[in-house]
Amino acid sequence: MAIKTESFVLNFGPQHPSTHGVFRMRMTLNGEVVVDMEPVFGYLHRGIEKVAEERTYKQNIPFTDRLDYLASMAGNLAYCLAVEKLADIPVPERAEHIRVIIAELQRIASHLIAVGAFLNDCGAFMTPILYMIREREKILDLFEMVSGQRLTYNFMRFGGVSQDIPEEFMPALEKVIAEMPGFIDEYDRLLAENEILLARAKGVGILPKELAINIGASGPVLRGSGVKWDIRKADSYSIYDRFEFEIPTGTVGDCYDRYRVRIQEMRQSVRIIKQAMEQLPEGEVLTEVPLRLRPPKGEAYGRIEAPKGELGFYLVSDYSPNPYRFHIRAPSLINLTALRDMAVGWKIADAIITFGSIDICMGEVDR
């Protein structure tokens, strides 16, 4: 007698511990093998893009905190860059340096969570992510010093930053930066040679170079596939052209490569922060900008290399205090479109670590 088997559909999420929020995968499974997958998002849609059109430019800064809530500073920075382009606002030197320091700290903080959560998806029961959070706490303490907040900072302003860094910031930053490389090395040593991690992550969830470019992937996902593309170098913004750093890339584009790229990027961020700290000048941190800013008619696209990829804000002004169009190019969403191609044919467990290695934040995907 022939036994009849058929594939079944598993609704993976939106309430699931490893979907990093309210993401849903409609997986067609043949036993353990993922035959087809359909990503479903929109459960966290808040209409930020539309609401922003009814509010003044300055009132929109807090919204950018709530996109990628694990890297709020990056959202702030990208939006402020876009408005500065639109209204042609100069930024003082000191503010530029503070912005670079803060943005790179934010990159480390975000990558810590990304790597920790990836390992959590691999099944390392909470230990890696808790160590990562321990280190992230130190960075959050620094952010609390400058902005008073620990999650949604609302720190950057058009033409600078909201306030100068306090006195105790620099010694504390020096301490964190001195400790961070040792910590990253220790962590890397423990995990990079772990036989089970290698077996799980090497060669799994491969994103080919061509596909990565075609879908418009960016950030560690693109660089893991071996494309040397970093907006800090390719389309230098702020004062990044003054600093020396390398762009780490992977080779094959599997989960392990993406993990390695993140670890190495943290080291490069430490390098940038050190240089910025040495060069930090005295002076003003904020250019005076009218509260109801009316940028001249036109459009602008401000983009930065956010921890998760290219974060861009496309703004259209019609010389009113509100933006006529407020569009967000969220790296998480664009990177997520590669998930189906990466996960089909692998097992459920692989699909999950592939998803984890993309490092998405649902606040940004659904906006």
Binding site: L10, E32, V33, G123, M126, L130, N194, A199
Partner: protein, 355 residues
């Protein structure tokens, strides 16, 4: 002890003692696990209920008892009811033959270890019943994984036990402990490793906890269970670890034997030590994938267990029961060579399936 010589009184007393022992140990285990995990993961762990959080297991028990008992409307209700019992009872039954000290056991079966292996396999049936009757895809996937994994790992587990039996010359657990003038972990280092890894897989502990993989299939077979029925599975899981620790202590660490302290205390110390090791593994190692788990059993553990059995048999034949200290060094050397060979040629593979 005249009274205990009576069969029925012996039976009654030891049943009560064993159940009390298991329940207290399991409560202790839950507390130890949470505190030890907290210690490893740079956090505190439960420390609010009672002194040092000692009453946390009690609080958990009360919470679980007053929870609503939910039965999935499209599930198979009878099997859904039976499954926790089928998973729970065999684990308790194993303790009937585990000697706490000389003569202190419910039934000194002359086929004790065979009984342990046989009874412990029943747990898989209970887990599969739970997975099937929940009418939930996650739990079905978990249950399928469990059955595949348990059947695969039972073979290296049995072979590792066989080599111990060869050394001791008996299937009775009491006799095995009495035969250990040198703990068998020294005479059987490879056997110990195989037994420990296979037993970890049998009780679904990390890195073989695919059955309940929180990050993949949420909680696997017990996803639909709540209240007391969930508590039964939870208890069964910890009892299984207790059994694992007790068996490792009995078969390889010399059971109740030890200097100075009373035998019963030695036994408990060894159990807790093994358990702490299990927690340590859980807190540090990521999970394997299902095909890698199966490959590891069939390509890694099974050949090694067969080789180990052959070597042990030859040694027993040559030295005729008077195993000298030379055997210890020889076996450790053989283990090192075999593990090096396997790590060189054996890869946890698995790859993409064309669909």
């Amino acid at each position: 002890m005249y009274l205990l010589d009576n069969y029925w009184i012996h039976f009654a007393v030891f049943t009560v003692v064993i159940i009390a022992f298991i329940l207290t140990m399991v409560m202790g285990f839950i507390y130890i696990e949470r505190r030890a995990l907290g210690f490893i993961q740079v956090r505190l762990g439960p420390n609010r209920t009672g002194p040092f959080g000692l009453l946390q297991p009690v609080a958990d028990a009360i919470k679980v008892l007053i929870k609503e008992d939910i039965i999935p409307s499209k599930g198979d209700k009878l099997i859904f009811w039976l499954a926790p019992l089928v998973a729970f009872v065999p684990v308790f039954m194993i303790f009937a033959v585990v000697p706490f000290q000389r003569g202190a056991l419910l039934a000194d079966l002359n086929v004790g270890i065979l009984y342990v292996v046989a009874v412990s396999s029943i747990v898989a049936v209970g887990v599969f019943m739970a997975g099937w009757s929940s009418n939930n895809k996650y739990s079905l996937v978990g249950a399928m994984r469990d059955v595949a994994q348990l059947i695969s790992y039972e073979i290296p587990l049995g072979l590792a036990i066989l080599s111990v039996v060869l050394l001791a010359g008996s299937l009775s657990l009491t006799r095995i402990v009495e035969a250990q003038s040198i703990p068998f972990i020294l005479l059987q280092p490879l056997g110990f490793l195989i037994f420990f890894i296979a037993a970890l897989a049998e009780v679904n502990r990390c890195p073989f906890d695919l059955l309940e993989a929180d990050s993949e299939i949420v909680a696997g077979f017990n996803i639909e269970y709540s209240g007391m029925k969930f508590a039964m599975f939870f208890l069964a899981e910890y009892c299984e670890v207790l059994v694992l620790s007790a068996l490792v202590a009995t078969l390889f660490l010399g059971g109740w034997r030890g200097p100075l302290l009373p035998p019963f205390l030695w036994f408990i110390i060894k159990i807790v030590a093994v358990f702490l090791f299990v927690i340590w593994i859980r807190a540090t190692i990521p999970r394997l994938r299902i095909d890698q788990v199966m490959g590891f059993a069939w390509k890694g553990l099974l050949p090694l267990a067969l080789i180990n059995l052959l070597i042990t048999a030859l040694e027993v034949l040559v030295w005729k029961g008077t195993l000298p200290w030379l055997a210890i060094f020889l076996n450790i050397a053989i283990m090192a060579v075999l593990i090096l060979l396997w790590s060189k040629f054996f890869r946890l593979g698995g790859g993409r399936v064309e669909v």
